[in-house]
Amino acid sequence: MIEAVGLTKRYGRTVAVDNLSFTVKPGRVTGFLGPNGAGKSTTMRMILGLDRPDAGQVRIDGKTYHQLDRPLRTVGALLDAKWVHPNRSARAHLRWLARSNGLPNRRVGEVLELVGLTSVADRRAGGFSLGMSQRLGIAAALLGDPQILLFDEPVNGLDPEGIHWIRQLMKRLAAEGRTVFVSSHLLSEMAQTAQDLVVVGRGRLIAQCTTAEFVDTASETSVRVRSPQLDRLREVLLRKGYALHVEPGVDGNALVVTGSVTSEQVGEIAAEQDVVLHELSVRRGSLEEAFMRLTGDSVEYRTDGQGPAGPAAAGSEDLMVAGGVNR
């Protein structure tokens, strides 16, 4: 269990984390979601006692990080896979970590085996690929067999196989009853792994709820219609109070009806008016669109004056929020 209360961190004039409160429960994967620069990494550093909050505090099973005796036995974390000495072997890296928390040397072999690095354990970590570094970082996080695990963007830069492996691992760790807190800037990624979400933007809490709730409330449906009598249909729909806009496309203009509307309603109205339909389709807004709408005001970096949920941003899969700077 992780409890953050009123967490605040400033770096000079930037407020990286702003009065953030949330709880992370055991037995579930909790996603920590927010666009680039939202303060996710900063929050994780504060949880681990690396950065000192300007206000507020974090408690881990009721204790501050500094109060934990042999903290690796309670909390394991992978914040950055490149935080190893390049000329030290993977085994030596884990050996000093194990020793620092009084863990038996046998654990080193066990976690190396678990992440599949046994055969390269004596090679210098500086020569590792990103995927291998990530596995080493996970081995370090699991070393003390902790009940609480933190991962900061663990799938960043991994190939599909690596991504799959990490997702399965996180689910398994949560199923074993552990607390798993994992950050990401992609809602589509979190939708596949996390049961709960803590959503932040510009350092502030936007939502804390289950992933299902978030997706339901956040993503709205719309109905798209094409017709040779588009203007007529548009007038009728407007008169009936539907919100809509015209969307130009390769197959001519289309109407997109938004708000709480079903394809049945639109089809019946068209039939009443004897309007011929060439297309009637339901579109569920992508998770990323929903995410952008919610965090829209909180996106720190924008490419231009265009709103974060603007048409240029919408639609593309796995889009990073409003072309944010990747850090």
């Binding site: 990080y65 903290p71 000495h85």
Partner: protein
């Protein structure tokens, strides 16, 4: 204890401390022998006319160069942690930063002490083999101090290197600051007319050198430039005091800073 063990593994699981250790001994012995052989031949030719003699401390004149390597090695022990961000992993594993700093100081200080003893006695031993027409036998307590004291001076030197490394967090910055101070700064200040002589005893590396009889104020029985405000043990106590103050400031800063 586990923190000490972790720091020990960390120090010896990369190559650079091994190279630094070798360099320390080679520098001390190498420069020491050059100095010894040159001095010996000068004294042989000019006899009592030269203002210095050949004795036990003549074999120890390479100490300063080894000391410079120790400074760099000790600074690197912490600046590389900042450079590769393993300092974050370290403080994550051991949130008590003071104990991390103390362990580092103990490990690097011990290594420096051992290297100091090896280098000093190797210099003296080799000197006795190379120069047989002068008496290089260690007899007096002063002579023992001048050779066996190297370990203590090296350990103190390592603490200074570690403290400055922790304060700057950057290898280049720390090494430049340390070497410029020790090799240039103290010499230049000592050379300032009139006041230089007064300040010189209070320059930490000069004080450390005085303890070993290798400072600018001392050379095997001959010319003692200024009247020093302390004896040899006072000198090393002052040197250690400077190291302790620097180290305490470093510990304070490390505890207050974000990792």
């Amino acid at each position: 204890m586990s923190v000490l063990g972790a720091e020990r593994i960390k120090l010896f699981s990369t190559k650079s401390p091994w190279w630094s250790s070798l360099a320390t001994v080679v520098f001390v012995v190498g420069f020491g022998m050059i100095f010894l052989l040159t001095t010996a031949s000068l004294v042989r030719e000019d006899g009592p006319a030269v203002p210095f003699r050949v004795g036990v401390s003549t074999t120890q004149q390479g100490i300063f160069f080894g000391q410079m390597v120790i400074l760099v090695m000790a600074a690197l022990a912490i600046t590389t942690e900042y450079r590769f961000n393993t300092i974050k992993t370290t403080f994550q594993a051991i949130p008590g930063r003071t104990s991390v700093m103390l362990s580092k100081a103990l490990i690097i200080g011990l290594l420096a002490a051992v290297l100091g003893e090896i280098a000093a006695f190797a210099s003296w031993g080799l000197g006795r083999l190379l120069v047989t027409d002068f008496d290089l036998t260690i007899r007096t307590a002063d002579q023992w101090r001048q050779v066996a004291g190297a370990g203590l001076v090296f350990a103190i030197t390592a603490i200074i290197g570690l403290a400055v490394g922790a304060l700057t967090r950057h290898t280049a910055g720390a090494v430049t600051a340390l070497l410029v101070w020790a090799m240039l700064g103290e010499q230049l200040i000592g050379a300032i007319p009139r006041v230089g002589d007064k300040i010189q005893p209070w320059l930490p590396f000069n004080a450390g050198g005085h303890f070993l009889g290798v400072g600018p104020n001392q050379n095997e029985g001959a010319q003692t430039g200024t009247d020093l405000p302390y004896n040899a043990w006072g000198a090393v106590a002052y040197f250690a005091g400077v190291a302790v103050v620097l180290f305490l400031v470093a510990v304070l800063v490390v505890n207050r800073r974000d990792a």
